[in-house]
Amino acid sequence: MDKKTGVYICTGCSIGDSLEIESLSKVATKEGKVPVCKTHPFLCGPEGVALIKNDIETEGVNTLLIAACSPRVNYDVFEFDSSCIMERVNIREQVIWSQPANDEDTQMMAEDYLRMGLAKVKHIDLPEPYQGENMVKTLLVVGGGLTGMTAALEAAKAGYKAVLVEKSPVLGGWMNGLFKQAPRKAPFTTPEAVDIAELVSQVEANPDVTVYTGAEILEIAGAPGMFDASINQNGSTVKERVGSVVLATGAVPYDPAKLDYLGYGKYENVITSQKMEELASKGKILRPDGKEVQSIAFIQCAGSRDQEHLPYCSATCCVESLKQATYLKEQNPEANVFIFYKDMRASGQYERLYQQVQKDGGIFVRGEINGITEDGEKNLLIEATDVLSGATITTEGVDMVVLANGMVPTTALGEDIAAKADTEEDCKEDAGPKPEIIRKSNLLNLAYRQGPEMPTLKYGYADSHFICFPYETRRTGIYAAGSVRAPMDELSSVEDAAGAALKAIQCMESSAQGVAVHPRVGDMSFPDFAMSRCTQCKRCTVECPFGAINEDDKFNPLPNPTRCRRCGICMGACPERIITFKNYSVPMIGNLIKSIEVPDEDEEKPRILVFACENDAYPALDMAGINRLKYNAWVRVIPLRCLGSLSLVWIADSMSAGIDGIFLLGCKHGDDYQCHFIKGSELAEIRLSKVSETLDRLDLDSDRVRMDQVSITDYDKIPALLDDFAKRLDELGPNPYKGF
């Protein structure tokens, strides 16, 4: 587009009192040669906004640079025609609120930010949305249990078509094996009848849900809006084009064969909780030898909360055992029911079920099981140590022992592909972040370069790491729901199903419009690959945290824009700099760097360039300003989409421009990472570890580049971090490249 740039400088909020506005304007008019540059004492007021609008309409200004407050505020006020390029220059929070007024250095900082703004608008274009071909809004649900059926049905009720694929010949999954289900409504004291058949008939009767039972996914290829799923049903292959996927393949019981220390497999009257449901469904609860069960012991955490077995809590077993206790008590109120537990986890309103079983005479023993033995009549004796008193107690013989054997997600089954890949040549070459854990669990069979299934977090769960974003996913358009995502009960699974269905619907809608999904929702830009310069190094495909990029036989990247989350990590990873976004690119940031005016060595005004994550570090810098915390005047901040989009060439650009030091402020990484793009900040740090080589080549000390992890609330620590870095740079002396 032919750009006509207008610069608008607000002098309100003490900006005009703290800076020489005339000199600032000259940066725009004389240096930037912009045709329009205006100031206003209240730019965000109706008159100020009208001024800008008038210039758009009558002067043909189509590129706006607003030097005022932070882009985090007045976003709604400074919203103009979408055909205009609009950028904000933050001279309030990050200049006059964090620097002394009417100071030479403050003025220089504001002028530099204006120069950087001018450089930015000069080098960006308006993004145009990506348009896929033959896009559909049909949801694929894998797994036909409670969660999967709910997801399909809820999507259909919202007006979408769904394809439901279930491995077994019938729908219903886990629920088919239950005698009763845990209470779902107040007063939460009595188990309810299982009504899964009702849900099955609703699903089967819904014209918008296509059901494949006895079917498996052979392959899912493509990307959101245009996935092609091959489904094998009884030996014949069906193809379905779908827009997004809900993975609802559930969990399996923890293998009781591993619980031999609790007598399973040795004594026939030691059973699993699944077996207990089966026995109760048949009527009177009888032992295999026909004896009516009059006394029973439930062993909680059989496998769960055990570092040797499942370190996590399976979350449902306490309530399940309480429910099963009612089965026996209902048949025989005099029956002896023991529950051996570590903690009774009847969370929320399930507490009332716990109270009910206590009232009905359930005997609760908090203890560690030492062993279970059998007497001559096949009754079982349980020896346990009371955790508090240390006393050993042994029960009289009980007729039956039920092991509450926990759950394992279906994504945890199968061979670990990452472990295998580790031995391959191409993954050994450098110390990257921890590889994704993907098991060959034969659920989705994705035709992805990065592996066929969802990467899992801890313990094989395909869960999100984020507390605030539980449907965050590392494979765009694929959402896990129910007990495959985390241990959860029926009520929770039903909610999870609807939640995941909505996320899947959003993804289809966003893909159709050519915009990004969370966390850069609505972003129209997407990466463009200048393939003629590609060296097939595979950095982009390896580093993309979302598995967005496939490869052809010759290792050329095959981007999938609707899988892309627009973080720019591929852009930062590419050594040949072939990846660009219309409004975010290596040369664009390079030009920002070059626009910074670097004073000569004898002026003793060093320059520190800060690359700040725009989600956390940048708002934290704003917060420092809002709290009027003063920080080092040599600092110039460039926000990045993610620190992972950092290109090492920017370090070289900065150093050769005479900038004295570079400070990277990114999000926390490691086990409790806070990077919204999963491993962006970690990748930046790894890249940085290689920069010393570049610096050596330039004969510069590697201390000139530093990285720190800051959260959005660390604003109070930022001034000291910057000062400390400035001190180190002072010791090192000026960048010898200054003035070249």
């Binding site: 370190p311 109270q355 939640g499 909505l502 959003q506």
Partner: protein, 413 residues
């Protein structure tokens, strides 16, 4: 004909989520919040369990989602007066209370500098004061000042009006009511902490150094009244020993018969605040059962080694009148032995009460006060802690699910 819009009541993490998630699927959404800012109770939290990350990080992303989304319209300082109609066609009367500060506010803060009146700061549970014209908190969204009309001296003072260069202050602003036509309603008004004074044998309100878990969040927050120093209310002394008393109200027929679901994890998290400040601090946790569900077990496993876990329900908390130290008396559940521990501070793990005091007739709730959805009368959906006791992640999940239900109500028929 069905209306396309959805009304979400409550701007905490549940309401925010429901509103944003519905709008990102294409719906028009109105979000109504009683307070002057969005974010609700999570904005008052120091960190989330189990990652110990700041809630403002997620809120920042959510606010960004609102900023760039033209389909969400939100009203702060607003409440629901009346709901009429049926699924697909509700008329809701919303009362918008005066902020006394209009859109012109740039949050420059000049007004607050000249304001002579003060008010107790409820954001920090009354532990400090703000001026009568104030910004609710540092990360307040929208970032606009607000006047507490109970504390403001009025037009006779007028200092703020004179100080504001932008004509942003309107002392004569008044409450206004308006109607919204919507197809579905998500009710996400959240929770209140159980009134700890009702558990009188724990001495909250009597003993200065007995605090509640929500107050602990503000004490530990670097933007809180003590700049993140965990000190005793009685003498400002740095805390060296703390007792967390679980189920202070919850799981008790005389108070809240249900388990509040989050307090165990919250106390374990708060134990890390104390330990982070001073690793030599002595931390006790008195509990009935530790309910660290699912993968939260990892956090429990990690934290329990650093603190003293005692199974037993605390009977009574008394105060040493001279030192203001607290004596926590517990009966060991099995041995019957009475234990006494003296500590600098007690944190009561008070539970959640659903915020249903203002619920219009159109909404049903169960015997514990939690909102229930009537399957025969679709169109109004509870979400988050007003529906059941939930942690943040589960609230988000629940609200995303409610958003889909609401969308269904706008497309049915």
């Amino acid at each position: 004909m069905a209306h396309k819009s959805i009304l979400v009541v409550g701007g905490g993490v549940s309401g925010l989520t429901a509103a944003i998630e519905a709008s990102e699927a294409g719906s028009e959404v109105y979000l109504v919040e009683q307070k002057s800012y969005l974010g609700g109770r999570v904005a008052q939290m120091n960190q989330y369990f189990p990652k110990l990350c700041p809630p403002n990080c997620g809120l920042e992303i959510n606010f960004k989602r609102i900023k760039q989304n033209p389909r969400i319209k939100f009203f702060t300082l607003a409440e629901i007066e009346k709901i009429d109609g049926v699924e697909g066609d509700y008329t809701v009367t919303v009362k918008s209370n005066p902020r006394y500060v209009n859109q012109n506010c740039t949050a420059c803060g000049k007004c607050s500098e000249v304001c002579p009146a003060q008010r107790s700061n409820e954001f920090n549970y009354g532990m400090d004061k703000t001026q009568a014209i104030y910004k609710a908190h540092e990360f307040a969204f929208p970032m606009k000042y607000v006047i507490d009309d109970q504390a403001c001296l009025g037009a006779e003072c007028g200092k703020c009006v004179a100080a504001c260069q932008y004509g942003a202050i309107e002392l004569d602003m008044s409450a206004k009511s308006f109607n919204l036509n919507v197809g579905a309603i998500v009710w996400a008004t959240g929770w209140q902490p159980y009134d700890a004074k009702k558990v009188d044998y724990y001495g909250y309100g009597k003993h200065e150094n007995v605090i509640t878990n929500v107050i602990m969040e503000r004490l530990a927050a670097s933007n809180g009244p003590t700049a993140g120093k965990i000190v005793r209310p009685s003498d400002g002394k740095e805390v060296k020993s703390v007792a967390f008393v679980q189920c202070a109200g919850s799981r008790d027929e005389n108070h809240l018969p249900y388990c509040s679901g989050v307090c165990c994890m919250a106390s374990l998290k708060q134990a890390t605040y104390v330990k982070a400040m001073n690793s030599d601090s002595k931390v006790y946790m008195f509990y009935i059962d530790v309910r660290a569900m699912g993968k939260h077990e990892d956090f429990y496993t990690k934290v329990q080694d650093d603190i003293t876990m005692i199974k037993g329900k605390v009977g009574e908390i008394s105060e040493d009148p001279v030192t203001k130290d607290l004596i926590v008396q517990v009966e060991n559940q099995l041995t019957g032995e009475i234990m006494k521990e003296t500590v600098d501070m007690v944190v009561l793990a008070t539970g959640m009460v659903p915020a249903t005091s203002n619920v219009p007739d159109a909404i049903a709730y169960d015997e514990d006060g939690f909102v229930v959805s009537n399957p025969q009368q679709l169109g109004i959906y509870g979400a988050g802690c007003v529906k059941k006791p939930l942690d943040v992640s589960s609230s988000v999940k629940d609200s995303t699910s409610a958003a889909l239900k609401a969308i269904q109500s706008t497309v049915r028929r």
